[in-house]
Every structure is written in C-alpha cells, then in structure tokens.
Assembly symmetry: C2
Homo-oligomer: 252 residues x 2
C-alpha cells in the first residue's frame, strides 16, 4: 500500500494538478504583485518567495480551486481570476532550492505537478492581506524588483505580465487598478508602469480622449506640490462596452 498516495486520495487533493495566482496591484508608482513566504525558523529562510498556489481538490473545477487557494493563503476573497494557461515543465518542481518548501507541505513532494495559472488586477488600497494556511507572510512586492521566485513562478509572472500588456493594447484597463477618481497623470503613469516605458503626454491624452471612456469631475487635487489636476473617473457604461468589443492597438 502506497501510504502517501492514499493519504492524498483521502484528503481529496490531486497530487498532480495545482493552481497559481498572479495578483497585480498599482500604487501610483509601481506595478506590484502578491507573494507569499513560509516565514522564519526551521530552515524556512532558505525557501524562496512564491506566488500563492496549491494543489486542487478532485471535486472542484479549476476556477473554483484558484479562488479558494487564493483566499486560503492571502485572505483575498471573491476575486475574479482569468486563466493565463497551463505550465507543465517536468522539472518545474525539481529545483533543489524548492525541496524544503515542497517537503514541508506536500504528501508527495516528488510528484509531477502541472499548474494552471490565473491572474487578476486588484485595487491595492482596498485589499486586506492575511497570511494563513502554509503562507507565513503575504505581501505586495514591486514586480520590477523581483529577480527570483520559487518553482517556475518567475516564468508565470512574466507570461501574466505579457498578457496584461496585451490587454492594455486592446481593452480598457484601470477600473480595478485605480481608485474611483484619479488624474490623467495617474492614468498615464499606470500605462507607463505596465508597459515599462515613457509615453509622450500629448500623444497619450489624444489617444485616451479618442477612447471616450472618461468623465471629467468638477473637483481638483488638493495638497499637491504642483498645479492641482482635475479628477476624472471612468464612464462605466462606455468602459464596459469597449471591454467587450475591444479596440485598435494603442501602439505607444
């Protein structure tokens, strides 16, 4: 009798299939992503930082699994997650650097695991992060500062970022990354941060104007060290319509 196999079977976790979540947030300066750590002590300082992810149960579908795992590890509830794709390099959980992590949480640390990656955009100021389950800490980290992650999570992060960049070129983005009211400068900064390049101000404003998704508010910034800008907000109806039809490549 293979004890590990049956134990897993009893718990209903599938030893070969996991989900991983890439949660992006924007703080007006940087693009950030939610990561988890196993905490201190017991050799855990040697374990690499990871994206929130875990094995799926045999009786749940992939979308449900991603939502559950994200909540269990980070406290983020009812997050709409979009599938990025499957990652299945046979060696993706074979790195010596991740052995300790796997052995500390898995009944079958040697099992081949294919993971299905999901991503989402969330308003950072509204997110309450709470580490639980095997996550001993959960935090936002600047995507640009991340040089290493456990397993193949760096590749998953990169692929998700490419997907976000592509979305930016064909659909409105921002309703989940910015607060309800924001300035055109802040919106431009969001585009520049995701695309990782400077955009000409007049060019940006001309193109955004053409999309016709913003409503100018009769309210200005206060307490800023420069000429206060008008606030704008998204026109929900037009934003939704354009999300469905998509538009021509922004081409910055």
């Amino acid at each position: 009798m293979n004890r590990a196999y049956n134990h897993t079977k009893n718990k209903g976790l599938n030893p070969n299939i996991s989900v991983d979540c890439v949660i992006f947030g924007f703080d007006f300066e940087k693009l950030n992503v939610v990561t988890i750590r196993r905490g201190t002590g017991n050799g855990s300082e040697l374990m690499r930082t990871a994206l929130p992810g875990d094995l799926i149960y045999d009786n749940e579908n992939l979308d449900m699994a991603a939502e559950r795992v994200l909540e269990e590890l980070t406290g983020l509830k009812d997050v709409y997650l979009e599938q990025v794709g499957a990652f299945g390099d046979p060696n993706r959980v074979r790195n010596k650097k991740d052995e300790k992590w796997l052995k500390s949480i898995r009944e079958q640390p040697e099992a081949r695991v294919v993971t299905i990656a999901y991503y989402s955009l969330l308003p950072m100021e509204k997110c309450q992060l709470l580490a639980s389950s095997f996550a001993k800490s959960v935090q936002w980290e600047a995507v640009a500062d991340i040089k290493d992650l456990a397993f193949d999570h760096l590749e998953i992060l990169k692929t998700s970022l490419d997907k976000l960049k592509n979305k930016l070129a064909h659909q409105p983005v921002g309703v989940n990354l910015l607060p309800e009211k924001f300035t055109l400068g802040q919106l431009q900064k969001m585009y520049e941060t995701i695309l990782d390049k400077k955009i000409d101000k007049r060019n940006f404003r001309r193109k955004i104007q053409k999309l016709d998704i913003l409503t100018l508010l009769d309210e200005k910034q206060t307490g800023v060290p420069h000429k206060p800008s008008h606030y704008v907000k998204f026109n929900d109806k037009k934003y939704r319509e354009l999300s469905e039809t998509g538009f021509d490549n922004f081409g910055f």
Copy 2:
C-alpha cells in the same frame, strides 16, 4: 497494492493530465477539424467521436506531449501547436456515454483528468491522416456539422474556434490554411467560413489591400466556370512582420 496505480506509474503515464488537439483545415468550402473514432465492433459504435488526445508521460512537457499524441493517433508529424488553455471540470470524463471509451484505453478510467488543449491550422491537401494507437479511424469533419463529441470536446472545439476568430481580427491568417497560390475570392471565403458570416466584397478587398501582405501573380485560374481570377500569394516577410506586431481589429 493498487495495481492500476502502479501499472500506470510503471508506464510513466500521468493518470490526471491529458492533452487534446484541435486541428483546423480549410477546403475552400468549409472549416474542418480532425476527429478520431474507436472503430467498429465490441460496442465501439456506441462510443462518441473525439478530438485526438491522451494522457501525458511524466517526463515530457506539455507541448511535446501534444505533438506526440497527435502523431500517435493521426499520423500528423511536427505540427506547431499553440496552447488554448486548461479544461478541468471535475465531471468532464464522467459522462455515461464515454465510460466504454475510457474503460477501453485507461488503467484508471475513474481518475480525475484535467486536459490542456492545443490548436493548429494545417493545409488539408498536404495532410496524410493515418489512424493508429487507439484511434481506429481519423478524418476531417466539417466543424459546422459537429453536434456532439466525447467528454468536453465540444466546449474545447468552441473555445478554440473563438481563439481562431480572435486571431483573424488581429493577425494575418491563411498561410497554413490556403495553398501557396490562391484567389482573393478564396481568401474571402476563408474569412467568411471562419467568422460564419457574409462579408461585403469591396469592403473585404479594401481592408486586405490595407494590410499589404499579398503579391499579385502573373497567372490566372484555368478551367473555372466563371471569369478566371488572378492568383495571389502571401508576401512572407510582410506576413511575418504583421504576425508579430498584430493590427487593428478587422471588424467585419
């Protein structure tokens, strides 16, 4: 000792992860897709038609697995396959109608299986289909005529077709679906067939012209019952460039 589990382990097949392939082809009239059947006798007439697919080996990555499985079942070699995504409804292999199929090929017919779907576009006239492994027949079937498939393959086919439609709106398509030389009428028919709608001829030609990816050949059709049309071919360099950058929504 769980015999089925260990048997599968010995063979190196992962009981929980499969790949399925959606191979599209165009015959100047209809969009077609490659399907397999288990053949006649032994109750197989009761088994539903399926897309070519099978479990992956534990030592191969997903792309390799898809390429191998496609070749084993259909004889199609060295096909470039693009990932569509993962399909993981817990009941996707639980339909009574597919029990016979699963029992006839799987050591663990009751195992939960998540499948990773791939798709490709192939020139039908160059494809040699050869049924082997557990496929007793392999054939092109008109997508429009397919009302039922085994497992969740109808959903996989629909999602892949949506992906192809979306590709048509933002990238050049045709180099793998049409012969080297073709007429503008045939190209329009390809667009109409994939999008499943009539397109205004002048509108189509204006838009295709704008893409600037065709070279007019000094050669006309022969033996056709209408005024013979000039042949055109794709300009490889421009086609490739535009494939990389993408373009504005065609919006037919």
